[in-house]
Symmetry: C2
Subunit: 395 residues, 2 copies
Amino acid sequence: MLNEKMVGLGTARSVIRELFEYGNQRAAVVGRENVFDFSLGNPSVPAPASVNETIVDLVQTSDPVLLHGYTSAPGAQDVRDAIAASINRRQGTSFSGKNLYMTCGAAASLTCSLNGLCLPGDEVIVIAPYFPEYQVFIEHTGAKMVLVPADTEAFQIDFAALEERITDKTKCLIVNSPNNPCGVVYSEETIQTLAQLLRTKEQAYGHPIYLISDEPYREIVFDGAFVPYLTKYYDDTLVCYSYSKSLSLPGERIGYVLVPDECADAELVFAAVAGAGRALGYVCAPSLLQRVAARCCEDTSDLSVYAENRRLLLDGFREMGIDCVTPGGTFYAFPKTLEPDDVAFAEKAKSLDLLVVPGSGFGCPGFVRVAYCVPTEQIRRSLPVFRKLADLYRK
Amino acid sequence: MLNEKMVGLGTARSVIRELFEYGNQRAAVVGRENVFDFSLGNPSVPAPASVNETIVDLVQTSDPVLLHGYTSAPGAQDVRDAIAASINRRQGTSFSGKNLYMTCGAAASLTCSLNGLCLPGDEVIVIAPYFPEYQVFIEHTGAKMVLVPADTEAFQIDFAALEERITDKTKCLIVNSPNNPCGVVYSEETIQTLAQLLRTKEQAYGHPIYLISDEPYREIVFDGAFVPYLTKYYDDTLVCYSYSKSLSLPGERIGYVLVPDECADAELVFAAVAGAGRALGYVCAPSLLQRVAARCCEDTSDLSVYAENRRLLLDGFREMGIDCVTPGGTFYAFPKTLEPDDVAFAEKAKSLDLLVVPGSGFGCPGFVRVAYCVPTEQIRRSLPVFRKLADLYRK
């Protein structure tokens, strides 16, 4: 009688959440310091000081009726203008506020974009490894998720596999670079090849194929890694952004969808995103946080912690003979498991109170995700445990 | 190619928003003080001081990683417990935190509830006059809205008309008391009769009929009006609440869905609401505002302003011979128009720079909505203009 699909979604605990809860239970038994929980992608570094300073300043100096009042549905105009100007300064683009639709974070950016674009029967292409909620978001629109297997060497794109999967029904393709779960950044060459392929297919099928760039990790990159700005390579791009990771505000739910003027049917696409926001019950993005995002959008939390964690972990894996692609960004590492069955590997790790997430859930078996957004001392103390795990396979 | 329905929703400007924009344009021409804009239901009274004090205190004394971090999907446990305890204190109920699912405001409460409950082909009953976004929310689920015409005398419920419309396909019924747009509070007798009718129909059809109580105006009542708490009259009730109006925080998007233990399939219903939240992209309600709601949930903004506005307006209408039901709550009055065509009446008002919303948009022609959440001096200065309008019909 109820919507069983929704019951299922609300009842099923994600593997990640399950692991996290297990970690809490174990912590009660063996002590927090003896559980090495790498399950959750929850930023461990506080928001930059500017965030809380801005909140206090806004609260103390703004008209409260305006500060906490409805903004227009796509967001406060000054907020949209400020964020567009900031993107332009950093990316050399020429957006204006009217290209931006403020949202309640990346998940909302994706659901508004997908519900605006998709009709039942459409296909949405996703490239493994991928964030598993994509499937939930896509299926709610009535569209079908089409998965491109991972390039498990470089974690770029297997273009032959992608090309095979583009059909007349392909409405859009989601890319996520820097990538959750593998941390890899798509190279400029990858983006150029992707753009060329999509343009060719658009011509062949005679309709746009939208590229959705889900990029909450854009700011979290290491060694000066270059993250191409996709609208500059491919016109029919929607950018889905969130401040959750860059400003360590995942609970506050603030982000945006950017629809460039160059995008096919740009005005209609923008209207469709806004219409979807309306139908899903998003009246406006949280008003105080909109203003915080506008003022703090060029700040980030202290990324040096993630850089240090990454270095320690990668060096450790190398010494232990654990293969791991070098993550150019995010706070995830995605080492190859020491047996083909990643679930069994993660279980073995769990028996040592080392909590890592099997790659299968991200469409990429044979790997595990290690979310290193944790205190650096946890990384240090975990290395002997990773070694113990590796040794179990070498007896 | 795009989802045309979403394009339509994003392109169509609501009558209310259209009026508001017109008001801004007229203000530029004739001066802000000469435009009497009663179009928007945007609280005019600031949030109580406790809200901003709480924000500053939380920001200055909490661990920022926790304060701004993800909460669990249904909300932070301590927040849910505190709000449940507050409802229990005031309503004599016995809820616990696990009955509450925190949301991004009333619209999200409704979309999560409706998407959780409804399947395509279901019917959702709505009683006129009604908030027009209900139709958008209902149709997104694939269900059909079934409208019960207004009781234009007392603005309670026309039970004969309601009974005719309950069928085997009726999944739920939405009530909104105190009501937007008419301000009326359903009496205890109305609620008792409604509960009895629904129980009878549940038995007849052999399945639950859920009652969704959309009650963002619960706290905004006058002359000690009694607003029955619906879970005490009918087990299969979901309460959709928002702090937008009571705490003057409409832009911040914070509210909840309450699913009582007594509700049929309570655990599955709760899971369905949570599952819908997940599919729609609501990861959690904004974390800072969850804490603000928990601490300030027994406060309200200064309601005496609305009480005074209401008194002035009702007295004025009475003197002018304009019929108007006495609104027990909200900040809306819903006078009868002086000609049958409410749209023509609102146009005539507009020609005097008096902006009121035709009742037709709320499923109730022959009336207009006057949103009196404005400065009291605007009410005072508008009375001669309302009189001028009335006089146009008496020449």
